[in-house]
Amino acid sequence: MDDEVMLYRMLDQAVANEPPIGPVVERAVVAGRQIRRRRRIAGALGCFALVAVAGGLIPVLGGPRSPGLSATSGRRTVSAPSTTAPGCGKFCGDLYLSEFGPSFVLDVDKQAPAVGQPVIMFAASSTDPGEDWTFTTGTTVHDFYQAGLISRATALHYGKDEAYEIEYAPAGASTGLCMGVRASKAYEEVRLEKCGMGAQTVWFSTAAPQPGHAVTIMNGLDKGTSTPLVLTFPATGYPTDVPRPPLSLMPLAPGRGASSQQWE
């Protein structure tokens, strides 16, 4: 019995001095509404499909589609490996490391849409809008050079590579904030920056990252040095570490890059 009394007391002390709480209720209501809306739409579409199939309205479409890739007006979009929050839609996606698989995905620390907010990895969740990003791809480094966002040196070295901005889009809502860095140097932390302001928010790789096709990702500030800096998760860290290890730019490991540099 003494043990139980002691345990009551110690558990009470363990939760003392708790940090301030965020807008949990508001976020839960928003996420809950999106789930409800999605279910209503899915239900309505299911009814429609049933009626249409019964009436012979839907023709059979031939040809398999590439996994994780959808076509929209000639532009490609990396689609989500099923972890994006409801309401994010087909333009949303999540990047994850081959090393950890889709259990941990790109996340904005504390979900805060603010310049300077660190970009981390967090457990994949279908209700966490902090994990929603849009990847508008189908453009090359050369295209970004022509748009004046990337230097000529970068375009000369990597002109044909796939280039993209990765915008933070909680629940599919555009924030105008993209994953970026402030400078091109080793250990530079990856954080949210305003989109379209320069090369710091442009990322590129030999192909768009897709599930099953890992690539190393370089930042647009890279000028084509002998040791390129690539998007890296700390090699000694784990996504559940506290404080959360932020992503950073690190020199490409020999070969195709370290396991902490392979993104899908």
Partner: protein, 159 residues
């Protein structure tokens, strides 16, 4: 939905503290509390009719926590050994000792301890929340206390 917001605002501090004792991380605890409330929002009309919303919230939170631990490598290291150094009962480090002791328990045993000794639920309520028999709750409680006893003894000795 005003009644849901009212309920959630009242429940969220306690949910987050319970989640913290389950997972040992305030950031993750907030996520667990949010996910719990999101699930409740979706089924709010049905839950409201059952007239046991707080009990439902505890059950959902524990299930969400256990599901998040299932089949996933965790950064937390579960160990059979308890820390050697014991601390004063009212020292700020007590939290670390308690969390280390809780970390020695498996997720379900940890949930039993937290619900019984922090959420102050009866054996029957814990059994309902975890979907197991009352006997299982009692045996898991006894085993968990056995495992945590060296720490409790140490704190008592120094206190």
């Amino acid at each position: 939905m005003e009644d849901f917001v009212e309920f959630a605002a009242a429940a969220v501090p306690r949910l987050r503290r319970t989640a913290f004792l389950l997972c040992g991380d305030w950031h993750m605890a907030e996520d667990l509390a949010q996910t719990t409330l999101t699930k409740m929002f979706v089924h709010w009309r049905r839950i409201k009719r059952q007239d046991a919303v707080f009990s439902y919230a505890s059950r959902t939170l524990v299930n969400t926590y256990i599901a998040s631990r299932r089949g996933r490598k965790s950064g937390e290291i579960v160990t059979d050994e308890v820390p050697e150094q014991m601390l004063m009962p009212d020292s700020p480090e007590t939290r670390m000792v308690v969390m280390s002791a809780l970390a020695t328990l498996a997720p379900r045993a940890r949930a039993v301890v937290v619900l019984r000794f922090w959420a102050d639920m009866s054996v029957q309520q814990v059994a309902e929340a975890l979907g197991c028999s009352e006997g299982t709750v009692k045996s898991q409680t006894a085993r968990a206390l056995d495992k945590m006893r060296p720490i409790l003894e140490g704190v008592r000795r120094h206190g």
